[in-house]
């Protein structure tokens, strides 16, 4: 979703530039071209927004309404019923708390871990630096299914099953986040570090007061990635959690899937509720997000 919005934004930006140009040379031909561009954009807009619209429609309708022919496309009156039923099934407040707590905690710790690692890999010369960095990147190629059972054994031996810690621990060092941050650190002028050192600042102080404050866009972009990863994480929490009261959103929603009957009103309501925090988080950070992505790309 985020990438979709991202590309969409970029297209809009380029279109705005284009629009200014056409204003200058407002020939009929250019106008015609712009019209096509807008039409195309409207089509893309509908394609990307419709699933969300359908989700809201589903959340306000009875389950059986979703499969009529022709499909129901208007909002129904079952909003409260679905909300109450869903609350009875999974306990919305508890699940929402679990998801937010786990995701935020994860973002905070993982960001600290990955940023420090990336900084060292970008700005310090030492033996084996390249090797370590390559190893991080290669580890992205290991499918998570391969690590599932060993990790599960480990958590079980450490008696950590069914804890929040077990959910976040295995992914605290997130290779893609390290990669993204490293690319951004590379762009940071080493001369600044030198002069800070000459002024007698400690390495930790340089990192916290000189480097990190100028990295806000990159940090925002990385946070969104980490947040999304944890928010949508399904298989691992499913495997390590053994209590309904510990369930996060994806796991709780999956528990609604029965054999012969699924109440899609409840499911859509759940999905709607699960989407809201991501949208909020994204909107809060999106200004930084795009510049953070571009920052690493332009380097």
């Amino acid at each position: 979703m985020s990438t979709k919005i991202n590309t969409f934004k970029r297209t809009v930006q380029s279109l705005q530039i284009r629009g200014q140009q056409t204003k200058k040379a407002s020939t009929p031909k250019a106008k015609f071209k712009a019209l096509w561009m807008y039409l195309l954009l409207v089509v893309f807009l509908i394609i990307s927004v419709f699933p969300f619209y359908w989700m809201f429609v589903g959340a306000t309708n009875d389950s059986s309404k979703m499969f009529t022919n022709p499909p129901t496309l208007s909002f129904g009156s079952e909003f409260m019923t679905n909300l109450t039923n869903l609350n009875e099934s999974i306990g919305i407040a508890r699940v929402m708390f679990n998801s937010i707590f786990v995701s935020v905690l994860y973002v905070v710790i993982a960001l600290a871990v990955c940023t420090s690692a990336a900084y060292v890999l970008a700005k310090f010369e030492f033996k084996g630096r390249k090797f370590i960095f390559t190893a991080f990147l290669l580890s992205m190629m290991i499918p998570y299914q391969a690590t599932l059972i060993p990790l599960f054994r480990m958590m079980s031996d450490l008696n950590l099953l069914n804890t929040y810690f077990a959910i976040i621990a295995p992914q605290l060092c997130f290779p893609f986040a390290i990669f993204l941050m490293r690319q951004n650190f590379l762009a940071f002028p080493s001369e600044l570090l030198e002069s800070a050192r000459l002024d007698g600042a400690s390495e930790f102080r340089i990192f916290m007061s000189v480097v990190v404050p100028s990295m806000k866009p990159a940090l925002a972009a990385t946070s969104i990635f980490l947040f999304m990863t944890q928010w949508n994480n399904f298989m691992w929490p499913l495997v390590v959690l053994n209590e309904n009261s510990m369930y996060t959103f994806p796991v709780a929603l999956s528990s609604l899937m029965g054999l012969s009957y699924i109440d899609y009103g409840q499911v859509m309501m759940g999905v709607t509720l699960a989407t809201v925090p991501i949208i909020v988080f994204f909107l809060a950070l999106q200004r930084h997000f795009i510049s953070g992505m571009l920052g690493s790309a332009l380097k």
Binding site: F67, T163, Y164, M246, G258
Partner: protein, 427 residues
Amino acid sequence: MKKLFGMIIFVAFVLVLGACSSDSSGEGDSGESDSGKEELTAWAWNINVPVLEMAAEKFEEENPDFKLNVVEMGTSDVYSKLTTGLQAGGKGLPDIVLVEDDRFQGYINTFPDAFANLSEMGFDEQKSKFPDYKTELLTKDGAMYGFPFDGGPTGVFYRRDIFNEAGVTPEDIKTWDDFIEAGKTIKDKTGKDMIGLDLNGDDGLYRMMLTQQGTFYFDDEGEVNLASDESKKAMEITKELKDAGIVKNTVGWDPWISAMTEGDVATAPSGAWLYGSITQQGKDTSGKWGVFKLPAFEEGGNRASNLGGSNYVIMSASDQKEKAYDFMEYFSTTNEVQVEAMEGGLFPSLNTVYDNEIFKQEVEFFDNQKIWEMFAGEMENIPAVNYTGDYAVAKDEAVKAQSKIVNGTPIEEALENAVKTLKNRTQ
């Protein structure tokens, strides 16, 4: 400054760890025998959860030190967690797990020590209370490893309104050939299709027809059995249905259900549990439904089959097996509990319960037909079939073969190919 940062990070860390452990303590899995804590844990999915909880409450009245914690999860999630736990050597597993019929033998073959031997604990005495097809399914090397629970006796659910409009009487449909003829009449008179099938995605009908003839994907020796005569016959009927132009291709579960509730197709052969789905999704179609037994392959042939159903197992890794056994024996052999299951939409396989009035009542939704009596009468005639081998892979190949057959590949060729690929994939 440096010290301050150090302090902050330290405090944050302590808080984090504190938050983690305070939430986990006291909620750990029951396998850990904390002193005094004797709670049992069970994994089950949606409509099974209230039945289990109600039974646990009743059981608790007479056994005050008993306590059951039911963890609700999606059907496929149960298998993900069960497989992970077993592969990790029996870690993080509950005491009691619900497992479907067609999954049970796969587990017991891959993990022979996973489930507790119930015969050793005395379950053989209760064997006669269940249909043979269930007890045979749950037996390995002469010992039982599961408590039979619900079953899926099959029937053809049909729309009375469509049948009446076309002037077709369900009593006349005795064989699959009759079924196809009736389908043609309905198509002519009403323009509606006889049956909804997911021809390229599911093989439910094929599986029902295999069970009806007493065979399945694999034979008793565990050899691939897709090219058997029974399998060919089943595929032939499927192809004839398609060629007669009376099949609506419904992709996925929900379109299939809604094709029925919307009145776009006339019949749906399925397990008794379909009752729950159509009564909930087709609330305004009450009285328009009926059920008749699956048509036979030849006049007078077997019309009983099974689709779906599940069983409870006790995990060997549990350290409270005796307790779990006492409860599950109570659960599976007490009429009161099974009637409750029935009311919750699960058709019990315990045969002592069929005398209960609930099985004799007229069902309004089905125009006062005594549908439960029909299903209950079927149970003893359901052939026992073999579910060994890799069910998921075999199903995949069967669906592919079916898809090829309805698209014109000769039956023989498609099935022989399926056998070959399946052998390769399961070696």
